[in-house]
């Protein structure tokens, strides 16, 4: 699955998106753990960052699969 980074996160990860093998399915916690292993710099932003799956916010109980478009959404500031 593809993981998209926005706002300040591409500067932290060094890329605007990354591919993750979701295998039989990943919990939200497992997605974070995978990303933190690959991009240790994002650990400090986890608390304020929401996860979206296929362009909709999801909670901690979400399960992610290959083919999903996942996005890390830092605190927003539109308007």
């Amino acid at each position: 699955m593809q993981v998209l980074f926005f706002f300040h996160l591409p500067a932290v990860t060094g890329c605007a998106e990354a591919s993750i093998d979701a295998g039989p399915g990943l919990s939200a916690d497992a997605v974070w753990t995978t990303l933190e292993t690959r991009f240790p710099g994002i650990i400090q932003y986890r608390a304020g960052t929401r996860l979206a799956r296929n362009r909709e916010y999801v909670g901690a109980d979400a399960v992610f699969h290959d083919g999903d478009e996942v996005a890390l959404i830092p605190p927003v500031s539109g308007g």
């Binding site: 926005f6 706002f7 979206a52 362009r55 916010y57 959404i73 830092p74 927003v76 500031s77 539109g78």
Partner: protein, 129 residues
């Protein structure tokens, strides 16, 4: 700080600059969010916005649908600008048409609150003056 500018007119002519509202509207509220000349106390020339565009559009649509169930209105139109927006120009324009003003104001206010909580759009940079 300059004193507030106040202008009040009574006219027997059509009022310029007013959009024609959809049929059924007795109220039409327009909100424009304007880029201010200061950001965190420093003078700026512009703000730069970025969006997770497909989700931002969907999220605004979801918010509007949810708010319409609470505040029945006739029409809602939202335009959010991204990229560099100079001081004095609108970053967002919201039009809400309704039978009566109460629901139009209520929806407009609630929408802006939700936008600032949930819609994936960011001020990525303030460009100094």
């Amino acid at each position: 700080m300059n004193p507030p500018q106040i202008e009040i007119q009574i006219t027997d002519q059509p009022i310029p600059g007013v959009d024609s509202a959809p049929p059924g509207c007795g109220a039409f509220v327009t909100f424009q969010g304007i880029v201010r000349d200061k950001e965190n106390g420093a003078r700026i020339a512009a703000l730069e916005y970025e969006a997770y565009r497909p989700m931002a559009e969907l999220e605004m649509r979801r918010i509007v649908s949810e708010l319409l169930s609470l505040h029945p209105c006739v029409s809602v139109r939202v335009i959010h600008r991204i990229g560099v927006v100079p001081v004095g120009e609108a970053a967002i324009v919201l039009h809400v048409g309704a039978k009566h003003r109460a629901e139009a104001f209520a929806l407009a206010g609630a929408f802006m609150d939700r936008l600032k909580q949930d819609v994936p759009i960011w001020k990525v940079r303030a460009i100094p003056a």
